[in-house]
């Protein structure tokens, strides 16, 4: 597993509610499967609203398995780790 010290921003491309691809920097991966999804909400009582994230484990067309998360406050998505 490779965990990124600073998660990489990703851009997701959806088609009729289905996740089709993700872009990291100038590279695009086709998503073939959403393996797992879960939500994390902690410290919601804090002034900044705490942490509210949607996590997805994805499999891409080249066989890469990775974990991304979306910040539900900002709507931004990040690549958190690659799984071997």
């Amino acid at each position: 597993m490779r965990l990124f010290a600073d998660p990489h921003p990703v851009r997701l491309e959806w088609e009729e509610g289905e996740l089709r691809s993700m872009r990291v920097a100038d590279r695009r991966w086709t998503v073939v499967e959403v393996v797992r999804r879960w939500r994390v909400e902690i410290e919601w009582w804090k002034k900044d609203g705490g942490i509210a994230r949607d996590h997805l484990t994805l499999r891409t067309a080249d066989g890469t398995l990775c974990e991304i998360f979306g910040d539900r406050h900002t709507g931004d998505w990040y690549l958190q780790r690659l799984l071997d």
């Binding site: 965990l3 010290a5 998660p7 994390v40 902690i42």
Partner: protein, 337 residues
């Protein structure tokens, strides 16, 4: 497995013949064997676990093999040769004792200061100051020890604190294995120097192979027109006679040198294999994988850090495996100091 050193301590009569017999046996069993003293041998166990099993198992095998030829020994295993040696000297005959990582300083701290390699006079002086154990000596401030007692005491102090380099010294070759080159036009660029060094290392590799040896430590002295001699020393893991691998090792040495001062005008080089490993009839590469990868990874990390600065090469340390957010699972720390 991290670093592990097994020190084999020969008991009862220590004759030349028995010393030679133990050395021959250990060299047949293990890839890297150094002589610490008469009847005392240090074996670097890095990279051996995959093929030979745990350090304790290797230690038990050493005892059993030597028992068959009626040579009694005791084995001490630790991360550093000094602690392993002290442990072996105190272990009962035929036994294998091991200190786990992190236990060395505690083990040494309770022992009398006499176990350290100190002059009798200095030992007495320490006694007059009320310093009787290794732990009390280790607690002294490093700079103060050097200032007051000198370099030899400072080296013993490093042993007491577990701050010595802790490498098993390889054997010196029976004849000096040296390659030299000099150049009419001085070389001032690293890439050009590396190209020029390759020719010298081809010669060194040929000399090593002639004697059935691999270099375990290299010393290179670069003569410079405009500055003092630049001395580089490298531990080569796995030991090798391959010029390309030797060149890579020297390249790291050049990249890592403190302060990375300018190369200057290099007019010649003298490279010597100061420690060697016997390779004829042995496949030492089989044992080297772990140590080689570790060495290479550290060298790459140091190189990147020297180029990119602090914070560039980090490794995660899991601090809260139960955390639900990744940034709280781990703390990032410098991969190399």
């Amino acid at each position: 497995m991290g670093r592990a050193v097994a020190v084999v301590h020969l008991r009862s009569e220590v004759s030349d013949a028995r010393h030679a017999r133990v050395l021959e046996t250990l060299t047949g069993l293990l890839p890297r064997v150094g002589v610490e003293g008469r009847g005392v041998f240090a074996c670097d166990l890095r990279g051996t676990e995959r093929l030979l099993g745990s350090p304790e198992r290797v230690g038990a095998r050493i005892v059993a093999v030597l028992e068959r030829v009626r040579i009694p020994v005791a084995v001490g295993i630790a991360e550093r040769p000094f602690a392993a040696r002290v442990l072996a000297e105190r272990a009962p005959v035929g036994e294998v004792s091991r200190l786990r990582p992190g236990e060395e300083r505690m083990f040494l701290s309770r022992l009398p200061v006499g176990v350290l390699p100190l002059e009798e006079e200095l030992r007495e002086e320490l006694g007059l100051l009320g310093i009787r154990t290794v732990g009390e000596f280790a607690d002294l401030e490093r700079g103060a020890v050097l200032d007051r007692f000198g370099r030899a005491a400072a080296a013993a102090h490093a042993l007491a604190r577990g701050e010595d380099a802790g490498e098993v010294r390889g054997a010196a070759p029976r004849r000096r294995i040296v390659a030299k080159r000099s150049w009419d036009a001085p070389i001032d660029r690293t890439d050009q120097l590396l190209f020029a060094l390759r020719a010298a290392l081809d010669d060194l590799g040929t000399e090593l192979r002639m004697d059935g040896l691999a270099a375990m430590r290299l010393e290179a002295r670069l003569e410079r027109e405009d500055a003092a001699v630049l001395r580089l020393e490298r531990l080569v893991l796995p030991p090798t006679a391959e010029p390309a691998a030797l060149l890579r090792s020297l390249r790291w040495a050049l990249e890592e040198r403190p302060g990375r001062e300018g190369l200057g005008l290099v007019t010649g080089v003298r490279i010597e294999a100061t420690e060697v490993e016997l390779v004829r009839g042995r496949q030492i590469g089989l044992f080297a994988a772990d140590a080689a990868r570790e060495e290479e990874a550290i060298a790459v990390a140091r190189y990147l850090r020297s180029r990119l600065g602090p914070g560039a090469v980090l490794r995660p340390r899991v601090t809260d495996p139960e955390s639900r957010v990744a940034e709280r699972e781990v703390e990032w720390e410098e991969a190399v100091s």
